[in-house]
């Protein structure tokens, strides 16, 4: 019996030792260590690697950076949530409406302003209370269309043109592209989203019969490029990037009327294994130099007010000085709280039987 007990405890002890090992062997300081970043996969990852991580590792050769691609912000949050007791990631990049939930669930920790001095130069739209991770990219909602669409659309109104019935793609709420279109139409009709989104919902009900799909597969960029759909709402950065790749088959219109920003924040994971090196990286990613490079590479509008991207690239973002006044002020904390209610409204009043 004693022998058995001994055997069991020694196995348990071995398991415990094995569980503790790994990860903690490298030391962490402001200019040495090893960090793991979790963010969007695909073209975002490719370009972020090229424009931010590669120059960073050149500047800080003793910090090893690993990028873990995630499908979307919710996947990212789910992965952080399940690893809460022993996080592997140090830095997470995700949408503000999701990072707000993560901040409140104690998954992220505030940054030290002394270690991330670039924080103070971030545009006021991208500041987050309590020194939590601020905005690292601004993106905006745009229209994409294929080369057969004539004349080129300049306003959201084109979506309601009966000519395009069955040829429209709108990713539905809770994808924030759908949310964004609702907020834009709501504001144009004089509504205030913190009270009611009825005017916006009414407009989308009118649009519903024209919509080919609310859940484009694999995404709206592919559908418009291949000619399966004519018009879609989309994110500017990816749209500009794919428009260049499609050699004129797909085009982007930044509408003349209101639009919304999509904000990605860069966050420090709570109990991150290497918080010092991680904050060095966050500071670099928020710096004017990497902000300008990322805008030049992938057309995300810079969040750092001191960043100087090329005029050509800036002109293809909603941060263009001529367009920035048209960006609606959206409080993503409020949007996050309304997410579920709005999902129910969309389901029952817009998507059902459309």
């Amino acid at each position: 019996m004693n022998k058995k007990l001994f055997g069991t405890t020694s196995v348990l002890a071995l398991v415990a030792i094995a569980g503790c090992g790994g990860g903690t062997d490298t030391q962490d300081s402001a200019d040495a260590g090893s960090i793991v970043i979790q963010g969007y996969s695909g073209v975002f990852q490719d370009n972020f690697q090229k424009a931010v991580i590669d120059p960073f590792t050149k500047k800080f050769p003793d910090i090893k950076v690993t990028y873990n691609g995630m499908g979307n912000s919710a996947d990212n949050l789910a992965s952080l949530r399940s690893a809460k007791s022993a996080p592997e990631a140090d830095v997470a990049i995700m949408d503000l409406s999701v990072s707000d939930t993560a901040n409140k669930s104690d998954l992220f920790q505030p940054l030290d302003p002394a270690k991330v001095p670039n924080m103070k130069d971030i545009d006021k739209r991208g500041q987050v209370d309590g020194n939590y991770g601020p905005a690292v990219t601004f993106d905006s909602l745009v229209l994409i269309y294929n080369d057969k669409v004539n004349p080129a659309p300049t306003k959201w109104e084109s979506l309601w043109d009966p000519k395009y019935k069955g040829r429209i793609v709108v990713p539905s709420h809770p994808d924030i592209q759908g949310t964004g279109l609702m907020l834009i139409e709501n504001a144009k009709a004089g509504g205030d989203y913190s009270n009611s989104v009825d005017p916006g919902v009414k407009r989308l009900q009118d649009l519903a019969p024209s919509v080919q799909t609310w859940a484009p597969q694999p995404d709206q960029y592919t559908l418009v490029q291949s000619g399966t759909a004519d018009l879609a709402i989309a994110w500017n950065a990816r749209a500009q990037f794919y428009a260049d790749e499609s050699k004129g088959k797909m085009k982007v219109a930044i509408p003349d009327d209101e639009t919304i920003f999509q904000i990605n924040t860069i966050n420090l994971v709570k109990n991150s294994p290497s918080p010092e090196a991680a904050q060095t990286f966050i500071n670099y990613a928020l710096g004017p130099e990497s902000q300008a490079t990322f805008t030049d590479t992938m057309y995300y509008a810079p969040t750092n007010t001191k960043a100087k991207p090329s005029n050509a690239a800036l002109g293809r973002t909603a941060a263009d000085p001529k367009k920035i006044d048209k960006v609606l002020d959206v409080d993503w904390t409020v949007v996050a709280q309304k997410r579920d209610d709005w999902t129910q409204i969309w389901r029952r009043q817009i998507l059902a039987d459309s």
Binding site: T101, K104, A336, Q337, R339, D340
Partner: protein, 302 residues
């Protein structure tokens, strides 16, 4: 599920000659320990975690409160919208199962009866779709059923319709692609079931004056019932728990229990609600298995 399948009347098995000795029983128990441990870690514990999660409270911003309440269950059960969703899911399962039997039965019967020397190859071909992921096959259907797909182009070319029919991004597309995706499972189950009876019975029936239809209806069909029922259960369960195909082909318009669990878990971030729906779906499975067992017993007693 497996226990359900094996809980058949055991009257044909003779009782053991002598009761098993203590030692033997101990060995048997010891031998099952690794399996039981595996089940505990990979099945029971996650289920307990899920049950605990379903009793927490989630709010719309994705925050989870550590409570013990039936809030999420109440939210589902008091809302007619979700009852309709459960009904739609059940209906999808039944209709897909029906059509899967309808199209798979002749193929399976042919495969069993054929005396071609390519029989093995033909059977392999019928089951080959299982080798590709259902995601790939679903994308195939998106292309085939699309406005410029081969189905719509053919209909328009033959003048049957003058504008493309909406066959994808809606329920119709989900039904069509699920039937095809479930066919190989159905064929496999039917093939296993057909192995049980010989053609002699049919010849006997024919010699007694039954026409071909009667032979099928009175002899072949009843004898193939076990295979049909196994296939039906398999396809039904796979259908009501499938979420990839409804998501990809549904165009964001088709809401089922499985897609709802996915949406609640990954988009709305309401994990407790997602967990509660999972248990409700589990209850639905249980209900179906009970009915299935009853049906099986009745057929075997005939």
């Amino acid at each position: 599920m497996t226990t359900a399948l094996h809980e058949r009347p055991t009257k044909t098995i003779p009782p053991p000659a002598e009761p098993p000795r203590r030692k033997l029983r101990g060995t048997v128990l010891a031998l099952t320990v690794p399996g039981l441990l595996g089940m505990l870690v990979s099945f029971v514990l996650p289920l307990v975690y899920l049950l605990r999660m379903s009793l927490k409270t989630g709010d719309s911003s994705g925050m989870i409160e550590d409570t013990v309440s039936f809030h999420s269950y109440a939210q589902f059960l008091t809302d007619g919208y979700y009852w309709k969703m459960a009904w739609d899911t059940l209906l999808l399962g039944l209709v897909v199962t029906f059509f899967a039997i309808l199209v798979s039965y002749p193929i399976a019967l042919f495969l069993v009866r054929t005396e071609s020397r390519f029989k093995g190859v033909l059977i392999a071909l019928a089951i080959a779709p299982l080798l590709t992921s259902s995601v790939v096959r679903t994308y195939g259907w998106i292309v085939l059923l699309g406005n410029q797909g081969v189905v719509n182009k053919t209909l328009q070319a033959t003048g049957l319709t003058d504008h493309p029919l909406a066959l994808v991004n809606n329920k119709v597309g989900v039904y069509i692609s699920l039937v095809e995706i479930m066919m190989p499972y159905m064929i496999l189950a039917l093939l296993a079931g057909f192995g049980r009876f010989s053609t002699d019975l049919e010849h006997a029936a024919a010699s007694l004056g039954a026409n071909r239809w009667k032979v099928f209806w009175r002899v072949v069909w009843p004898l193939s019932m076990p295979g049909v029922l196994t296939g039906a259960l398999l396809v039904f369960v796979l259908t009501i728990s499938s979420f990839i195909t409804p998501r990809l082909v549904g165009g964001g318009r088709v809401f089922l229990l499985a897609t709802e669990i996915y949406d609640q878990a990954t988009a709305t971030l309401n994990w407790p609600f997602a967990a509660a729906i999972s248990f409700i779906l589990l209850a639905l499975f249980g209900f179906v298995i009970v009915i299935y067992q009853r049906a099986l017993r009745r057929i075997e007693s005939q």
